[in-house]
Amino acid sequence: MELSGMLFYLVSFLIMGGIYSVICLALNMQWGFGGLFNAGIAGFYAVGAYSAAIITSANSANHVGGFDLPIVVGLIVAGILSGIVGWAIARICVRLKADYLAMASIGIAEIIRLAVINEEWLTNGSLGVSRIPRPLEDFFTGRESELVFFIFVWIIVAITFWVAHRLYKSPWGRVMRAIRDNEAAAESVGKDVQSFRIQSFVIGAIFMGVAGALSAHYFKFFSPDATEPLLITFLAWVMLIAGGSGNNKGAVAGALIIWAIWSMTEIITQQLPPDWATRSSYIRMLLIGLFLQFVLQRFRAGLFPEKAPKLNVKSHG
């Protein structure tokens, strides 16, 4: 194993880990802050990915656009469109209780998936959108482009983290926690519960869309099979619960640790005899499951439990 190989595995690992961190932070804004059970993450991720793909790719006869616009524009539009979809859903569903919201959001994600597959004029259907650019592609090629993209992803992670951190510490964050922990009490002191919930849902949806956009740029191609709920929705939930919902550092740590387990178990199972190749992949899935069980049993509140900031009230006297 050569050193540069290790380094570039790490880069590639951290790109995927960074994208999952953004999803996980976004889910934390919805579930960790506000107790909103979103089971349709893959839908928002898809909206963001396709928006960015269509905005930034070169003109194509296969789908609407592409508009060949800068990547930053793509990211912003991805966030806005995903946020609008989130707003529309929140308007209808957010009054629902947690379990009903989960069901409704699964349904919405499925509707988005079917729309993506069937509306060929928009997304090129199951054939996908290709020729999606990456930042600074003209100046960096080969392995350098991996490094550039790695930096790009982690700048976005940093921005997302900063936003999440500010929101959590702000009065807004306190209201969200109050709503999460006791809705009736929050309402009784005059907080507009529904409006706060919609805000939380929309902000989370925006960053889920941004994460989708990052994936589209990373793969430089996006087709419906990249929106597999198991790999987006389910994994993001596991990451947040394992990392510690309500804690932003926990969200990032959870994303990286679970993705490490997901990715690195294969390095172990690859050492098994080659005749075991088919079986070892299933053994790996078993290992992942076992480890998750361990984390979830051993650390009930996640590896980094929520620590609400102390109220900065000066005592008089």
């Binding site: 050569e2 597959i117 060929e120 996908g128 430089k220 990249a226 690859q270 080659p274 299933y282």
Partner: protein, 402 residues
């Protein structure tokens, strides 16, 4: 005391490295959707790749007696895990080249995110997406199945050859139907044919009478039907016959299913014909490979993509042997040399002969079990499309088109 130990350790290390250089072992990675939606297809496909690995090692090894080793990674037939699998193969296992992935989405994502930036040759045995043709891949990405577009293009020629100039087209709304129908329409019209109706439909409905009534307008001579027999295909044929709208059908490999004859009857299909990817007309090497495959693994040589998996692995091995080292760029540059004409023809199971020819400095041309694999500038192959008619309760190939 410290110095001698260090010296011994150093010399041991050097010796180990020298030994490594003498008989170079070569690792090739393969990204397969072992778990995930394609799991059922994988065992025979993986066995075929292993058979190629065994053939190389039994035939004297690679790069002067080195061991040829296949490292299998699970891409789960989806983009994210395939990228992850490929990056581990390329960066940690340090493989010389990558065989895979299977589905187009996984293949393109792994290529864009891993093999192309790292400069590693990737050969997919099965990806058929037209998007791969004009990818900016620095010549690192190849596939050994024709693009979906190709069957549509050949079908247009087959239909015109038959003397049919006016057709209606019905196709199923997925990547298969849309891809083939689009190229068929384009080529058929370019070659002077007329398309009177062009309708897509959803799979697995109960009635297609509405679509068929529209398609029958304009007096078409036959219905070109791009669909799966088990999905919408057989129903459409049946309902057309019942309503007397069409009596002649032209289908692709999805429709060319024994199920169709069972449901409709051979008589009703007497004037219909079908296209499907096929192997070269005379292919003793392919037959021998199938026999050997069944001897080693018990069964499965007739399963989909067994031939392609073997050929892709063998082509990579030959390219490495030709390159003379595990230098990744040299391997990429060698692939066309060993795969394309001119050159002395070698086939499956002829590893020893190929190595000997390469050692003598001769040009070789691998003709595989799945086709002759002549890569064009885009890293695509043309392949063979057969024309089939119904005979008894099955199909008979009556012509091969290229």
């Amino acid at each position: 005391m410290k110095k001698p130990i260090l010296a011994v350790a150093l010399s041991a290390l050097l010796a180990a490295q020298a030994g490594f250089a003498a008989a170079e072992d070569v690792k090739v990675g393969t990204v397969m959707g072992i778990t995930g939606p394609l799991a059922n297809f994988i065992p025979p496909i993986l066995n075929a790749a292993k058979l190629a690995e065994a053939d190389v090692n039994a035939g004297g090894g690679i790069l002067g007696g080195g061991k040829f080793e296949l490292v299998v990674a699970d891409g789960q037939a989806a983009a994210q895990p395939s990228v992850d699998a490929a990056t581990k193969l390329v960066n940690l296992e340090n493989v010389a080249a990558v065989m895979g992935a299977l589905s187009s989405g996984a293949t393109i994502a792994a290529a864009n995110a891993v093999t192309i930036p790292n400069g590693v040759l990737q050969v997919s045995p099965t990806a058929t997406s037209p998007a791969m043709t004009d990818m900016d891949d620095g010549d690192f990405l190849y596939r050994i199945v024709p693009s979906d577009n190709y069957q549509g293009e050949v079908l247009a020629r087959i239909v015109l050859d038959e003397g049919i100039n006016k057709v209606a087209v019905a196709y199923v709304n997925n990547d298969y139907g849309v891809g083939i129908a689009g190229t068929f329409k384009e080529n058929f019209e370019k070659l002077g044919g007329t398309i009177t109706g062009y309708e897509k439909h959803e799979d697995k409905k109960n009635s297609y009478r509405g679509e068929l009534a529209t398609l029958a307008n304009g007096d078409p001579e036959a219905l070109v039907l791009i669909a799966y027999a088990g999905g919408s295909g057989a129903k459409i044929v049946k309902q057309s016959l019942e309503a007397g709208l069409f009596d002649r059908f032209i289908g692709t490999d999805g429709l060319r299913d024994d199920l169709l004859i069972e449901q409709v009857g051979a008589e009703a299909l007497a004037t219909s014909f079908f296209s499907a990817p096929t192997s070269p007309a005379e292919n003793p090497a392919g037959d021998a490979l199938h026999k050997r495959f069944d001897e080693v693994y018990g069964e499965g040589s007739d399963k989909p993509f067994v031939d392609q998996s073997y050929d892709a692995t063998m082509l990579i091995a030959l390219a490495i042997e030709k390159a003379g080292s595990t230098d990744r760029t040299a391997i990429k540059d060698a692939l066309r040399f060993v795969a394309n004409a001119p050159g002395e023809i070698v086939g499956p199971g002829e590893w020893e002969k190929a190595v000997k020819l390469l050692a003598e400095g001769k040009d070789i041309n691998y003709e595989g079990a799945a086709g002759s694999h002549e890569f064009d500038d885009n890293g695509d192959v043309a392949g063979f499309i057969g024309k089939f008619v119904v005979e008894g309760d099955s199909y008979k190939q009556i012509a091969i088109f290229e």
